[in-house]
Amino acid sequence: MTVLRSLARHRLFWPAAVMAVLLALNVALTPSFFSIQVRDGHLYGSLIDILRFGAPLILVALGMTLVVATRGIDLSVGSVVAISGAVACLWISELPEQNSVAGVLAALGIALGVALVLGLWNGFLVSVIGIQPIIATLILMVAGRGLAQLVTGGQIITVNSGPYRLLGGGYWFGLPASIIVALGMVAAAALLVRRSALGMLVESVGGNPEASRLAGIRSRRILVVVYAWCALCAGLAGLMISSNVSSADGNNAGLWIELDAILAVVLGGTLLSGGRFSLGGTVLGALLIQTLTTTVYTLGIPPESTLLFKALVVTAVCLIQSPAFRARLSRRRRPPAPTAGRSQRDAATEAEVTA
């Protein structure tokens, strides 16, 4: 147990260390980086901004974690982000009174409902039809962008609604509402998967689908649930993004967020080959990516070099997370692993599968 625990600590230790380095870099450049001020009863500061702008990514990555844990992947989240924002803005823009709370709530409900349906569709393709997840969700990724533009009519829909603005740009109890919503969803997910059997079932389906089926787990149902959950999270993130700018852009909202979300999941220590997952790691991974984006602005890196910087940091995080790399670095010669190129835990899983 202690070995497992120290391993788990290690998995989150290295991303956390990189995060600390990035934050230190920021403080060195702008000494006021850590200062959090209270203005009009609201908290302001760079750290709060990281949390606020990172909230949609946290949500998308949260949904993605469970999908990845079942050995799947969901490429369609970016499109779902665009669709849910578009649907909500379309509904609100046609309200007679855009500030009516009931109307906005209805819009949110409809948008999340649409996202849920899209998730069920993904889950249906993966579990019932048996299409490989990357292709099944690629269909919605391509077609979904088109659907979002269809909803907005190829335009950017702008709304002027106080209650809608609250979700992405407003404050509750002095904190940005998006942070509270994101943390609420993380807490709900953690409660759901760690206090019920759901998390274990998800890990079991991801670890070995066939064995899980033979053990009596309805893996199809589990798969549909995780894809629906992923789309729901993406839909909520889409509402947040569109609410923050009070408009919906079917073409660009959530573009390539799926890659950032998958990156966040992986940086958080969840393996793409399925099985065990870490929600806390995912949140840390998402915050790391957001901090990286903020750092790029603070450092004043020219826009054309942003990607180079990102590549550098991602490579650095992956390398120091890799036990093989650290072993080589500290010149401790390990005997060659019989798996020839996989982490030990993965090898253990594979051995179980093969056995």
């Binding site: 490429l75 039809i129 690629l138 088109g146 533009q149 990607l307 490579t315």
Partner: protein
């Protein structure tokens, strides 16, 4: 590797590689390994007949050849991707490497004034080197291919941006000559030089995968990396090689795209990696590795190309209906393929 007696229809059967014993039954219609390919061929034919029936100009043989001409670069990239996916890996960097290659071609010939005979080898070597780097990191530091190649994707795109953020048009003699010389075929039809290169790449890849030790090892690693290692196969060398091949193919695809557009642009080929992966998977290759054919990838590229062609012939779709139509047709292809495979089993 497994024996030909394994019962068909199981996951185990679908993950076999080729063995000499199975080669005899290669053309047997009942061999489950060829079902996805047979299904794809059947659907392609049906879609082609549909196109011929609906549009007057569709029956022209040049329409089919143009699919190859217009997608030559995608075909080359997808062939490289096939090697990687067969080992159970994935390469997300190919789209960015294509963009980097086009920008390098343009910058080196137009701004640095180097001759094309020197530029093209430099570009191809750069692609191969990037692939070599990623493959080494993936294998020796045991990091997931998805993440390493995602970082590679950022790196290559970032390098392309750093070289130039604008589109550079080219009027270099060699590039223009290669771009504009048609390769005549009997019947008044013609191919481009790029398409001919793509066909050669497919043939070389098919030879490598099905008739050499390297190919056999690729299938073995995809089937079970551990067993391949215990059998004494050169797992490390082969894994690094497949990423090098993929990087090389991506750079070659970039060169072909430069011939096609006669310009270099760092915004080229965004999302191309997904097209390439889709082509490979539609062609019947399993993402877990160990099972699939280069021929399937060729068919996958033709499926994507035919979808584009049908939409162009329809001609009246707005940009968002085009996307929806691509998604729906992709879905139809995949559903029909699943249906045929199910039925036949």
């Amino acid at each position: 590797m497994s024996t030909p007696t394994t019962s068909p229809g199981t996951e185990a059967a679908s993950r076999r590689g080729t063995t000499p014993g199975q080669r005899r039954s290669r053309l047997s219609p009942l061999d489950p390994r060829y079902l996805p390919i047979a299904a794809t061929v059947a659907i392609l034919l049906a879609a082609y007949v549909f196109g011929v029936g609906r549009y007057d100009a569709f029956s022209d043989g040049q329409v089919l050849l143009n699919i190859l001409v217009d997608n030559a670069f995608l075909l080359v990239v997808a062939v490289g991707m096939t090697f990687v996916i067969l080992t159970g890996g994935i390469d997300l960097s190919v789209g960015s490497v294509v963009a980097l290659a086009t920008v390098m071609c343009a910058v080196l010939t137009e701004q640095a004034g180097l001759p094309a005979v020197l530029v093209i080898p430099i570009v191809l070597a750069t692609g191969a080197l990037l692939g070599l780097g990623m493959g080494s990191v993936i294998h020796y530091f045991e990091i997931q291919p998805f993440v390493v190649t995602l970082a590679g994707m950022f790196l290559a795109r970032g390098l392309a941006y750093t070289l130039s953020t604008e589109s550079i048009s080219m009027d270099d003699g060699v590039f223009t000559a290669i771009a504009q010389t048609p390769v005549p075929l009997p019947g008044g039809l013609h191919l481009s030089i790029s398409a001919t290169i793509a066909v050669c790449v497919v043939l070389v890849a098919a030879y490598l995968l099905h008739y050499t030790r390297l190919g056999r090892t690729v299938y073995a690693i995809g089937g079970n990396k551990r067993s391949a290692f215990l059998m004494g196969l050169p797992v490390a060398r082969t894994r690094v090689t497949v990423y090098t091949i993929s990087g090389f193919c991506a750079a070659l695809g970039g060169v072909l795209l430069t011939f096609y557009t006669l310009s270099g642009n760092s915004l080229n080929a965004v999302g191309l990696e997904l097209d390439a992966i889709a082509a490979v998977v539609i062609g019947g290759t399993v993402l877990m590795g160990g099972f699939g054919f280069v021929l399937g990838t060729v068919l996958g590229v033709f499926v994507l190309g035919l979808i584009q062609t049908l939409i162009i012939f329809e001609g009246t779709l707005s940009s968002w209906w085009t996307r929806i139509a691509i998604g729906v047709m992709l879905l139809l292809f995949i559903l029909l393929q699943r249906l045929i495979v199910w039925r036949a089993r």
